[in-house]
Symmetry: C2
Subunit: 216 residues, 2 copies
């Protein structure tokens, strides 16, 4: 009468400039979110990270626990612990089993998967405004235009260039490298880096998700 414990992940990535969610093919052309049971005594975070690594070959750039639900209808009774997972852009292997499409275009078979995806997008959008979470969807150095595109893609709406740049500069999470990228018949763009770590990143995530504390 113990439930089956399952870790589910909702992977996101920017691919060719498009904000995508990654799912697995199931039978009948519908999709499911990746999931697996943790190993015995394996921490939940580790199980989520391992799941992503086993599927794609690399560990995620970022992950965050979303919510835990129980599913009583299925047999055996299940406990799903869900994670949002962010992947650096375009780091796929051609043979990777994940199918990446825009979140609203994903055809998920299970109701729970649909709700988890909806919720994950909601959380990610909300976190854009008060954390530096967007940086996990970018390479280590990037142009301001790239950064703005990430925001526009995730939020699903265009942003004003001048206001966006002013706000980003003001927030202090950006450091200009003095490097310029030239990549077309136009003015080169300065590359930025992301001001080190912590700061507001971890704000509002639980203490034990920051430190890997020794729990008693």
């Amino acid at each position: 009468v113990e439930p089956r414990l399952t870790v589910v992940i909702v992977p996101f990535q920017i691919r060719q400039g498009i904000f995508c969610a990654g799912t697995l093919m199931s039978e009948d052309d519908t999709r499911v979110l990746p999931s697996h049971p943790p190993a015995t005594r394996e921490p939940l975070d580790t199980a989520a990270e391992r799941l992503m690594t086993e599927i794609t070959g690399h560990p995620p750039a970022y992950q965050e626990q979303l919510y835990t639900i129980s599913i009583e209808q299925r047999d055996p009774w299940r406990i799903l612990v869900s994670y949002m997972v962010l992947v650096a852009p375009d780091t796929d292997r051609p043979d990777e089993p994940l199918i990446w499409v825009r979140p609203e275009a994903v055809l998920l078979r299970r109701e729970t998967d649909r709700m988890l995806l909806e919720y994950a997008v909601m959380r990610l959008r909300a976190k854009l405004s008060y954390t530096n979470i967007a940086f996990h969807l970018l390479p280590p150095s990037f142009t301001l235009t790239q950064l703005q595109q990430v925001y526009e893609q995730v939020l699903g709406q265009p942003l004003d260039k001048r206001n966006f740049r002013r706000r980003m500069r003001a927030s202090g999470i950006l450091t200009p490298t003095a490097v310029f990228r030239r990549e077309g018949s136009h003015r080169p763009a300065e590359l930025y880096r992301f001001t080190s770590d912590s700061e507001q990143e971890t704000y509002l995530t639980p203490p034990w998700a920051r430190l890997d504390a020794n729990l008693s």
Copy 2:
């Protein structure tokens, strides 16, 4: 090799105007957060609500899932699903086993319990600013001064009366009842009610925590 599933709650209440957390006495004069395993196939939310009801005799005014952690060190391996629980003010029975003291004054034995309490306070504080969660810590009708005191207690800092009232009125979550409470040798205070339900209350809580949807 399956873990033991446990639901833990972090109860909060305003008692005699003081923001308190409720804990249980354990051996050696230290405290623990209330917890129990869900019944077979019992939804987690139901298990949390039932836990609170069994302890205090009434269901909580509000509850919200916090975080799920695994504790590998203990035997058997445990999965803790934690909930914040809000109780209407001063609705205790004298014989209730919970000990209510200010969150920073609670002496919890377990490291996990301390982290859960810290996180619960953090979440509650954050939610004060963008939801109407404070109303669950008040009776159905209340004065603006009472409401302000809840904010001050939870945030741990004084607020400006005029700015507070302006913001609350502007937010539209208040309805003045035309009733005035006289209770001392001073001007009577108008009672307010909380503008119906939903609205921004549920904003940023997962969809399945609002509807009790049928999961597949």
